[in-house]
């Protein structure tokens, strides 16, 4: 591997961003429109190239190599010394530009590329400060891809923090009525989580003398009398918890989830898609890449607690989503946001089980949830685009008006419920299979969420598509908002939705292509954790 494909896939958005920023705004109205169109297509082309690179990675990835804690079996590795200073008085510092992939990160890279490309299309509707929007969009893309490819903690942390500012702007400038509140809430919550991560990172550096995540997983690399040296010490437990909470805020799990509904409700459609599709995965990814394998003793100590947190998130999220059916509180986006909390709880439960089925199911669920929730948010976006409302009460009987839309939405909804034949089913079954062996009672309680999920999803489906058509949806469109548009999904929307629907059905029938990527790495991870788990 001489071609630095990971550098390209990670920094391609930066190049796209620079091009976007250099495109002149245009003098007159026609020029401005032209400039906007060019910017949109530059962004689309950038993310499309990224997607192609992701597919190249997918097809050349060798599933026989495992990675995780074995540095030699990482693939597409790029390792260059970045900061290397010999400082006798204050301690040497060594940071590497170290990128590489294994079975834990390949599905995420693929997911990021797919979602980043497809969410460009709903972004075409953005008409305000277009240049800034796509510049921030691409910067966000850079941060996300970087998090999944970095294997040096310092580098990982930079990418992790790099996403905060673009996300703040994307919610804060192009969001809904309470955008300022939602944007700063997101910023502060995530930063509060990541500053503790910073402290743990510093402590790990002083304990191991390296920022290399893979080397940190080898407990033999910890200096015996250093801060995180030894096994099962209180400091290690605290450090693990600090990391876990930092990542849990991003997932988000109960009780750190309160930023999510606000962020989702206020964010513009494509940003909701990215938020649910990719950003939430970073938290869970951080756990299996960093927190669990570096502190396996602490994971064993907290395993039951983590499973509980997963279970509570599943049930709590489902009940909150059901709560969206109270009159006056019916917000379509909030419903999906809470269903995300519930579905991401499944990921945590699967990871907590630390069994091959459970962990495989969890990673697959991360991938599936990314695809399915992206679809759901795009679907809300379609209705919002026509009616500028997300209140479930404002919809009804739309099956007659928008038949294609109804079909696509049914696929997404059934996938979210976990209907057999859809990808969500397979990951949920795997998670429950794994979790049941370790935590039978918690898993049974979590199983309830399936029923609740079916409840709120079917109810919403019924509300939107069946029954009487509200007055505003009847008759010709009136621009003042008295009558809504009733056009069925257009080409642009279909371009974004159809590939996602295809993935959902394809993986539901034949999950092999994604599952095969991760099985080797998952067993490697479990081998690493096993000696610590009683």
């Amino acid at each position: 591997m001489n071609f630095p494909i990971l550098t390209f896939i990670t920094f391609l958005p930066l190049l796209g961003m620079l091009i976007v920023l250099l495109i002149p705004s245009g003098k007159d109205e026609i020029g401005q429109e032209l400039s906007k169109t060019i910017i949109r297509w530059v962004a689309a082309a950038t993310t499309f190239l990224q997607l192609i690179l992701a597919f190249v990675i997918y097809f050349t990835y060798n599933t026989g190599l495992t990675g995780v804690n074995d540095e030699k079996s990482f693939q597409f590795v790029e390792k260059i010394s970045w900061i290397n200073a010999h400082l006798p008085m204050i301690g040497d510092i060594k940071i590497e530009y170290f990128l590489g992939l294994d079975g834990l990160s390949v599905p995420m890279v693929l997911l990021t590329a797919i979602i980043s490309f497809l969410a460009i299309f709903p972004s075409f509707g953005i008409n305000k400060a277009v240049k800034g929007y796509f510049a921030m969009y691409l910067l966000l893309d850079l941060g996300m891809m970087g998090v999944f490819t970095a294997l040096d903690f310092f580098l990982f942390y930079i990418f992790w923090e790099l996403m905060l500012l673009p996300m703040y702007f994307l919610i804060g400038i192009w969001g809904g009525p309470r955008k300022e509140y939602a944007a700063i809430k997101f910023f502060i919550y995530t930063l509060a989580g990541s500053v503790f991560m910073l402290l743990v990172m510093i402590g790990l550096y002083h304990s191991t003398g390296t920022f290399n995540i893979v080397e940190m997983m080898n407990q033999g690399n910890f200096l015996p009398d250093s801060i995180f040296g030894g096994s099962g010490t209180t400091v290690r437990y605290i450090a693990f918890m600090a990391l876990f909470i930092g990542f849990a805020i991003k997932v988000p799990v109960f009780p750190f989830h309160t930023w999510l509904p606000d962020a989702h409700v206020e964010a513009p459609t494509p940003i909701s898609v990215i938020l649910a599709g990719v950003l939430l995965k970073m938290g869970a990814y951080g756990m299996i890449r960093i927190a669990f394998p570096i502190f396996p003793d602490a994971f064993a100590y907290f395993q039951t607690l983590i499973a509980w947190i997963g279970m509570i998130s599943i049930v709590y999220g489902a009940f909150c989503a059901l709560g969206q059916h109270k009159v006056g509180k019916r917000d379509f986006k909030k419903l999906i946001a809470y269903s995300s909390v519930s579905h991401m709880g499944l990921v945590i439960l699967g990871l907590a089980s630390m069994r091959p089925e459970g962990v495989t199911g969890a990673i697959f669920q991360m991938f599936n949830h990314g695809i399915i929730t992206a679809m759901l948010f795009m679907i809300v976006g379609v209705l919002y685009d026509r009616s500028h409302t997300r209140g479930l009460d404002d919809f009804g009987g739309l099956a007659k008006k928008m038949p294609i839309y109804t079909g696509i939405m049914a696929v997404a909804f059934f996938a979210a419920i976990g209907l057999p034949g859809m990808s969500g089913f397979i990951s949920e079954v795997l998670v429950f299979l794994g979790a049941f062996k370790t935590f039978p009672i918690l898993t049974m309680v979590s199983g309830l969420s399936i029923v609740l999920g079916a409840g709120y999803m079917l109810w919403a489906l019924q509300k939107i598509f069946f029954g009487a058509i509200p007055v505003r949806w009847q008759g010709p469109w009136d621009p003042t908002g008295l009558k809504y548009k009733t056009d069925d999904v257009n080409g642009l929307e279909l371009t974004a939705l159809l590939p996602l629907a295809a993935i959902v059905i394809f993986l539901g029938v034949y999950p092999g292509p994604v599952l095969d990527l991760m099985t080797g790495s998952v067993s490697q991870l479990i081998e690493l954790m096993k000696p610590f788990i009683h």
């Binding site: 290397n84 200073a85 008085m89 790099l162 910023f187 930063l191 510093i202």
Partner: protein, 501 residues
């Protein structure tokens, strides 16, 4: 005979080591003359700049020297040299800020004294950075203070500027009085004014610890005043708000640097055991836990600075409280009192200098254009002047301490030294403070981008020199966040504090 030749030999050697300060004094005098001769408003400024560059040359030649001069009144060491460079760079930049300042242009007649007084301040700061004697410390502080009192009130037709100056004088006089009293107690306890001799005395004799604590805290009050540490910070917001913004920038960086220099030198030389050995951690002599005293000061300083900054609507006042908070972060590293702590302070200071001056410059430029210092003038700036707004965002992000910026590296080293020394509770309070600070820094970013979107107000244009100056600070803010080896290597080479061995 031998005595006299030895004496003159010493004196000549000391004079040689005193070259940078001598250059400054000559600059001071030449600037007075030049101002009398030339009618140009900024002429003295150019003279001072030239003088500072010559000073920098002589200072550079002192690299690696560790020596006492003038019978131990002053010492020359790499640590002092680092601080002096910070002072020099800051002053050079502030002089350039002054050239483009509208606020100063509007003020009365010529700016000769302004630049001359600035030189006086630099002389005081240079002396303070190398003082190793209580009386010398006092004289240096006064030299630098008197110049800064006048500078704070320089735009004397502005009422609040005069008020600022008066407040500064009163608070300054009180705190230096307290400091002097503390020094006299310390002198009474140990019978010496030289920091080294006090250390020797404390090593070999036991003294009343309450009295020692009292004198130490009183001296700390004087130093704390210079770095605006809580509870000696009361003057800061008013003076920062009232002074011309260029002077505010100078006070917030250069005089703080000198203050930190004297704090570190005082505690290292007076209160640590086993001076001269290559020990990494300094063991404190006596029964007083100075680590804890300074740590408490650090916590108070950063927490109060950040919490009060949340409520500010005047940009200068906000940056004043933010600079108090930053002094708190640096005090955390001081509390560690070991080599990594000193290095962390130096690294942080270098980064702080760049980003803080950058932030002040942007505020100066925008405030000059819009004749207000309110946070509201930044509404829609992201659309009225995209470049300046983007750069300001960078400075604010850096002040918050987010990567990839210089401020992050500074914080990384401060927290690293604190974690390494095992003060986890202090590190936790420190990072929580960073989170609080995010709120008020982002408030400005919010105003620039989230308010008045696609503003229809007229675009703001800035002169090429102003933009060049902004970029001169913005580029290193970004680059040092990604590649910081030179700064940490320099800091590593500069932690040697002369201890007489």
């Amino acid at each position: 005979m031998t005595d006299i030749s030895q004496f003159t030999g010493e004196l000549l050697k000391s004079m040689g080591l005193f070259l940078p300060e001598t250059t400054l004094i000559i600059t001071f005098l030449v600037a007075i003359m030049a101002d009398l001769i030339s009618g140009k408003k900024h002429f003295a400024g150019y003279v001072v700049m030239a003088g500072l560059l010559v000073t920098a040359f002589f200072l550079m030649r002192q690299t690696g020297i560790e020596s006492a001069s003038f019978a131990g009144l002053l010492v020359i060491d790499p640590f002092g040299q680092f601080i002096k460079f910070i002072v020099l760079i800051t002053t050079l930049l502030v002089i350039m800020f002054s050239f483009i300042s509208k606020e100063l242009h509007h003020s009365h007649a010529k700016l000769g004294e302004y630049y001359i007084l600035m030189t006086g301040m630099v002389i005081g700061m240079f002396l303070l950075a190398s003082s190793a004697n209580l009386i010398m410390i006092y004289i240096a502080i006064e030299t630098m203070s008197i110049s800064s009192y006048i500078l704070a009130g320089y735009t004397k037709e502005v009422k609040r500027s005069t008020e600022a100056s008066l407040k500064y004088v009163i608070f300054g006089a009180v705190s230096s009085g307290i400091m002097l009293y503390g020094m006299s107690i310390l002198f009474g306890l140990t019978g010496s004014l030289s920091l080294l001799e006090i250390n020797t005395f404390l090593m070999n004799n036991s003294v009343e610890s309450i009295t020692l604590l009292l004198s130490g805290i009183m001296i700390l009050a004087g130093f704390g005043y210079k770095i605006s540490a809580v509870p000696f910070h009361f003057w800061t917001p008013d003076v920062y708000e009232g002074s011309p913004i260029t002077i505010t920038a100078l006070l917030s960086v250069a005089s703080k640097a000198a203050g930190f220099a004297v704090i570190l030198r005082f505690f290292k030389v007076v209160f640590s055991a086993g001076l001269g050995s290559e020990n990494v951690a300094w063991s404190i002599i006596g029964s007083i836990d100075w680590h804890f005293v300074i740590a408490v000061l650090a916590v108070l300083t950063m927490t109060l600075g950040n919490l009060v900054a949340l409520w500010q609507t005047n940009m200068k006042r906000m940056l004043a409280y933010s600079s108090i908070a930053h002094a708190g972060y640096m005090l955390m590293a001081v509390a560690v009192l070991d080599n990594t702590g000193v290095a962390a302070v130096l690294i942080y200071f270098f980064m702080y200098m760049i980003m803080n001056l950058g932030a002040f410059l942007v505020v100066q430029l925008v405030a000059d254009k819009l004749d207000s210092e309110s946070i509201d003038i930044f509404n829609g700036l992201g659309y009225r002047s995209p470049l300046i707004a983007a750069v300001f965002t960078l400075f604010l992000i850096s002040l918050t301490g987010l990567p990839p910026t210089a401020g992050f590296i500074g914080k990384l080293y401060v927290f690293s030294s604190v974690v390494n020394a095992g003060y986890l509770w202090l590190a936790v309070i420190g990072v929580l403070n960073s989170v609080i600070s995010l709120y008020y820094y982002v408030r400005v970013i919010r105003n620039m981008y989230l308010r008045d979107i696609e503003s229809t107000q007229p675009k703001l244009t800035f002169s090429v020199s102003a933009l060049a100056l902004v970029m001169l600070l913005a580029i290193p803010t970004l680059i040092l966040g990604l590649y910081f080896s030179p700064v940490i290597e320099w800091a590593n080479a500069s932690i040697a504090i002369f201890t007489g061995h």
